[in-house]
């Protein structure tokens, strides 16, 4: 089931100069660390003049899906939603 969260979370991000890629690597949410597995989709949204990067991804165990929002204005991460991939 998909659940709206909208909480600020801690995120470790890495940048590979070889691949020229910047991606979230680890998410800390509710005292638990989730290693990032597959990235499903990454896109950007402009809210007024502020650019937000939206990452939709699953953890390494393929158990939870996360929707993360990175605000490029204040460099804060928000966990917008999580899902276990089930209907209810």
């Amino acid at each position: 089931m998909r659940e709206k969260i909208n909480e600020e979370v801690s995120v470790v991000m890495y940048y590979s100069s070889q691949k020229r890629l910047a991606l979230p690597h680890l998410i800390s949410w509710q005292n638990k660390d989730y290693a990032v597995g597959r990235i499903g989709y990454h896109h950007t949204v402009k809210v007024g003049a502020t650019l937000h990067h939206i990452f939709e991804l699953v953890d390494k165990e393929d158990i939870l899906w996360f929707r993360l929002n990175f605000n490029t204005d204040n460099l804060h991460w928000t966990l917008e939603a999580v899902s276990d991939g089930l209907a209810t």
Binding site: G40, H43, V47, G48, I54, D84
Partner: protein, 412 residues
């Protein structure tokens, strides 16, 4: 009139994303892949299904069912609400892939394009169009994601290319030429042809045309006089034979917004507030496209399946949100509200470009609504949509959500 089938090299491609919104959601969330998924306008029981994944389609969940009906067919169906920004992003990536092959790329909707390969580099280098298609399919996977597939159809005109793209869904690639055209028509029903709906089929049946092959073999006079009663019959005669008659570009005629009310009401005050938000959205689009309008149209649909609609030309230019609101408000107060309103729509028409800007008598005075509208737009561009709104729209931020216009992609 006797006309051979068009035996030119097929260089027109129709390409569309399979189950677009649902597939993009499945790409974004690997945990819902290979499962029945629908994207619905709302996730409440009456929310209309806008897209369903192939898994959902196999269970009979089609477009325009509501969420309750979808859940009756499959209790495990995963219901998502639309994420327009993500779909716009996918549309842009899709388009970018195609533009790598040729500049002749025409969007038909948010998930389908027509690509004209006449004179394209890819074909001039000697590559066959089917090889180019496989490359495009691969590029789309690299750009949008490994789960995303497209249907490709190739032929000598748009109609046959679209027909070809639908022959082997999902992830199809088919080519229709003069050589296999009759064979393909032979396997299809009339309503399998793009543009032939139940009413057209009934008309064709009345004239003794019951199959696509009979349609193809029908003389042009019969199509013009007995079936379509006009030039449309000639267009079908050409279309069915692979000649291009659909590459017409239509200019912008109007801007409009509509809203299906979650809480149906007869309250004029509430309707006015919704109307203001629709006017603001319409005004933003009108101004950002540099038009003024000289006509307005308002329509209301009611719970008892009735509707009310009225439009009128205006004697002065409509430009600011206030202009649109005042005109549409006048129409609203003329409406006969016979039952609860379920849908409200406002449209401005008779468009004229704003450039060169005509100097107004009230420029730079407190009656200068044009400059005020432009200043408000600048603030909203910087701080986000609906940061600065008319007082009537206070506390309405999440009412009337951003939606995806299926057919019109000119503003994406």
């Amino acid at each position: 009139m006797d006309l051979q089938l068009n035996d030119n090299q097929p260089l027109t491609m129709h390409i569309d994303l399979n189950s677009c919104f649902a597939m993009i959601e499945q790409q974004a969330n690997p945990l819902i892949r290979y499962k029945p998924v629908v994207v619905a306008a709302y996730d409440t029981p009456k929310g209309a299904v806008l897209a369903s994944s192939y898994e959902a389609k196999h269970l009979g969940i089609k477009l325009m069912l509501n969420v309750r009906e979808a859940r009756l067919l499959c209790p495990e169906v995963i219901v998502m609400t639309p994420d327009p920004d993500k779909y716009f992003d996918a549309y842009q990536r899709f388009k970018k892939v195609l533009l790598n092959y040729t500049n002749e790329v025409t969007p038909k909707s948010i998930d389908e394009f027509i690509v004209d390969f006449k004179g394209s580099r890819a074909v001039q280098t000697g590559l066959s169009l089917s090889k180019v298609s496989y490359q495009i399919k691969q590029d789309i996977k690299e750009s949008l994601g490994e789960y995303v597939t497209v249907n490709v159809g190739i032929s000598t005109n748009r109609f046959l290319a679209k027909l070809a793209s639908g022959l082997n869904k999902p992830d199809g690639l088919d080519i229709i030429t003069a050589k296999n055209l009759r064979e393909i028509y032979e396997q299809l029903e009339l309503e399998d042809l793009p543009g032939i709906n139940t009413r057209y089929r009934a008309r064709l049946n009345m004239a003794g045309i019951c199959t696509p092959l009979q349609f193809l073999d029908a003389p042009v006079w019969k199509l013009k006089k007995e079936v379509f009663h006009g030039i449309v019959g000639f267009y079908w005669f050409m279309r069915l034979r692979g000649y291009e008659i659909d590459s017409v570009k239509f200019g912008r005629k109007s801007f409009g917004q509509q809203y299906a009310l979650g809480n149906k009401t007869t309250d004029l005050e509430e309707l006015s507030r919704l109307l203001m938000k629709l006017c603001e959205k319409t005004g933003r689009r009108l101004r950002s496209n540099n038009y003024t309008a000289w006509g307005i149209h308002l329509s209301l649909s009611f719970e008892n399946q009735m509707y009310w609609t009225k439009g009128e030309k205006t004697s002065s230019a409509i430009y600011s949100t206030q202009d649109i609101y005042l005109q549409s408000q006048k129409l609203l107060y003329q409406a006969v509200i016979s039952a609860k309103v379920t849908n409200i729509a406002v449209t401005v028409f008779n468009l004229r470009p704003t450039d060169p800007k005509q100097l107004g008598l009230f420029d730079n005075t407190n009656l200068d609504t044009r400059s005020l509208a432009e200043a408000a737009d600048t603030i909203n561009d910087h701080y986000g949509e609906f940061t600065l709104v008319p007082a009537r729209m206070a506390n309405m931020k999440d009412v009337i959500l951003k939606r995806v216009a299926f057919g019109n992609v000119s503003e994406l």
